[in-house]
Structure formats: C-alpha cells, structure tokens
C-alpha cells in the first residue's frame, strides 16, 4: 500500500476480474445466502431474476479477494524496488453498496477502484482515512456493483510506534 500522503483523489486501478460459474454461485449461496434464485436454476427461472444469479454478497466478496491480491502484488513490487510499504489499519465499514444488475452464470466481472476522498485523522495521529469507490462491470460494459469503502492508511510520519 502507498502511504497516506502519496494517495490522491481520482487515482484509479483495475484490480482484476472473475468469471462466475454455476458451481461457484451455488457454493457461496449454500453457505451464506441460500435463496432459491441463487441455488436452483428452475426456481431462479420462476423468479424476478429469470435465471440463476450470484448473491450480491458473493459479488462483493470476490471484489474483496481481488483487492487483497492486487494490494499484495503492488506491495511485492514496491519491496522489490526497495520502497517502504505502508500498513493498513482497520476499516470502519462501507456505504452505498449497490447491486445494479444481476450477475448471471458465465458473467465475467471486472473490478476497478477510484479514490474519492482522503482525510488525515486527528483522532489517530499518523494515520489517514481514504474512501474509495469500487465498481464491478460485466462483459457487456454494464455496472453490476458499486460501493464506497473506507480504510485507514499509515502516514509517512507515523514513526516506529505511533498508533
């Protein structure tokens, strides 16, 4: 992760893509979101979705995984260049999660991020909060998901033991 001071509003990244299979969709739904339209083709065909589609939580969790993997690759590249890597603090949550279109079997979702706000934290010197708009787009160019996430990022001047 870049340090807080080095992160600018408007920065974008393409973090990765994922193709949702029927097994994938049913496996997630069976554990966490067992609605008939996420589990069973026939029930999904009778529902307002018309076809088997992924749980919105599944679409979001895949974004989480791709983001973690993306950050890890970036950090490895920074370390390889001899650069310092900033720590991440906890996330207080997220807002405006929108499931704009269903994600159907076979859809490939491409995920991207855009920094929308950065602010230093007076309550936690040495850390800043960044808010990021995260999106998922299907192979037709339709947005299927967006959310605003917030995470705490270390500042350059945090010092060795600052919290």
């Amino acid at each position: 992760m870049k340090f807080f001071e080095d992160i600018g509003v408007g920065e974008t990244s393409e973090i990765g893509r994922h193709t949702f299979t029927a097994d994938d969709i049913k496996g997630f739904a069976g554990r966490f979101d067992p609605q008939p339209f996420h589990l069973d083709e026939a029930a999904a065909a009778r529902s307002h979705f018309g076809r088997l589609c992924a749980s919105g939580w599944h679409t979001a969790c895949v974004w989480v995984r791709l983001l973690i993997d993306f950050r890890r690759r970036e950090d490895e590249e920074r370390r390889a260049r001899g650069e310092a890597v900033a720590q991440l603090g906890p996330s207080p949550g997220f807002r405006d999660l929108k499931w704009l279109k269903p994600v159907y079997v076979g859809d490939t979702i491409s995920y991207a991020t855009e920094v929308v706000e950065t602010r230093p934290l007076s309550s936690r010197p040495g850390w800043g909060a960044i808010s990021v708009r995260n999106t998922g787009m299907n192979q037709h160019g339709d947005l299927v998901m967006s959310l605003i996430s917030t995470v705490l990022v270390e500042s350059r001047d945090r010092g060795p033991h600052g919290r």
């Binding site: 554990r31 966490f32 979101d33 067992p34 609605q35 008939p36 339209f37 029930a43 009778r46 529902s47 307002h48 979705f49 749980s55 919105g56 939580w57 979001a60 969790c61 895949v62 989480v64 995984r65 973690i68 993997d69 603090g89 906890p90 996330s91 207080p92 949550g93 997220f94 807002r95 405006d96 999660l97 929108k98 499931w99 704009l100 959310l147 919290r163």
Partner: protein
C-alpha cells in the same frame, strides 16, 4: 406459500433473529477464500496486528448475518433480494468462539413505485456479542412481495416452498 409478506413488517418492530457461535475454523476458512489478510488468517500474525488477535473479516460478518437472517425469517418470507446496502459499520471485531446474536429493527416500509406487487422494508440489522456490545450495524432495504398481489396471482413468490 411464504408466510411473511411486505405487509407483515411494521415500522418500529424489533425482532431477535437467533444466535450463533463463530468458530476459529470458519473465520480462517472464510478469510482464506475471500479476505486473506493476516489478522483474519493467522493467530501469531494477528497478535502483532492492530487487533491484537485473530478477528473475523467484516465481510464474513455480513455473510454470517445474511445466513442468520435467512434461517430466521427471510427463508419463510416473500424475499426478493435487495438493490444494495446503504451503510455498514464495523463497530468492534468478532473474535473466535464468540457467540453473537442478530437483531432486526424495521425502520420504515414503502411500496414500490414501479411495481405494485412489491414493497421495500428498510431495516437496521445488528450483530451483538455476548457482552451486549453491537459489533456490526447494517442498514438495508430489501424487497418483498405484497400479500394481495401474491394471492391474486395464486402462485408462490420467490422463496416459497
């Protein structure tokens, strides 16, 4: 037929939606698949982290809540999913072998403007730990089929047996 429809949710209703023990194994399994950060995966690394010990991914908390709500009342309701989630606050971490319970508060209800057979219910859902501390708060407005429309069509809504 689903037992619960849009009309059955009344603003101000507060419902306890069951409890669950969150195991170390499930915290690690979820993290390995979807949120592989050290504080969710590895006890030693987690001790050195901000949290001082292993904690569940906040996204895991969302998924646990979804499952608890489905087992409790959504599975027997004319549930049609939600167009999104307004806000989630991760207020405190969930640690291994903690028992958490879920609580639902109906904030408001409104009919769909575009679909007369559908209504929205705006909920506040909370996950609460054994010391009565809310660990997660989530505001969401799922859709449910309305009773009259469901009856007139004479067919079960999504989620019906």
């Amino acid at each position: 037929m689903p037992r619960l429809h849009w009309e059955d949710f009344i603003p101000g209703q507060v419902t306890e939606c069951g409890s669950r023990l969150i195991t170390r194994a499930e915290i690690i399994a979820f993290a390995a698949e979807y949120d592989p950060q050290p504080m969710h995966l590895d006890e030693a690394a987690a001790r050195a982290s901000w949290f001082g010990g292993l904690v569940a991914s906040g996204w895991h908390s969302c998924c646990i809540l979804m499952r608890m709500l489905t087992d409790d009342f959504i599975g027997e309701a004319s549930f049609m999913g939600a167009p999104g989630v307004e806000e989630v606050e991760w207020l405190a971490p969930i640690r291994p072998e903690e028992r958490i319970r879920a609580r639902a508060t109906v904030l408001e209800t409104r009919p769909s403007r575009s679909r007369p057979d559908v209504g929205f219910v705006r909920f506040e859902f909370e996950l609460i730990n054994a010391t009565d501390l809310p660990v997660m708060r989530l505001i969401v407005s799922p859709m449910f089929q309305r009773r009259a429309a469901g009856s007139a069509r004479g067919k079960p809504a999504e989620g019906g047996e």
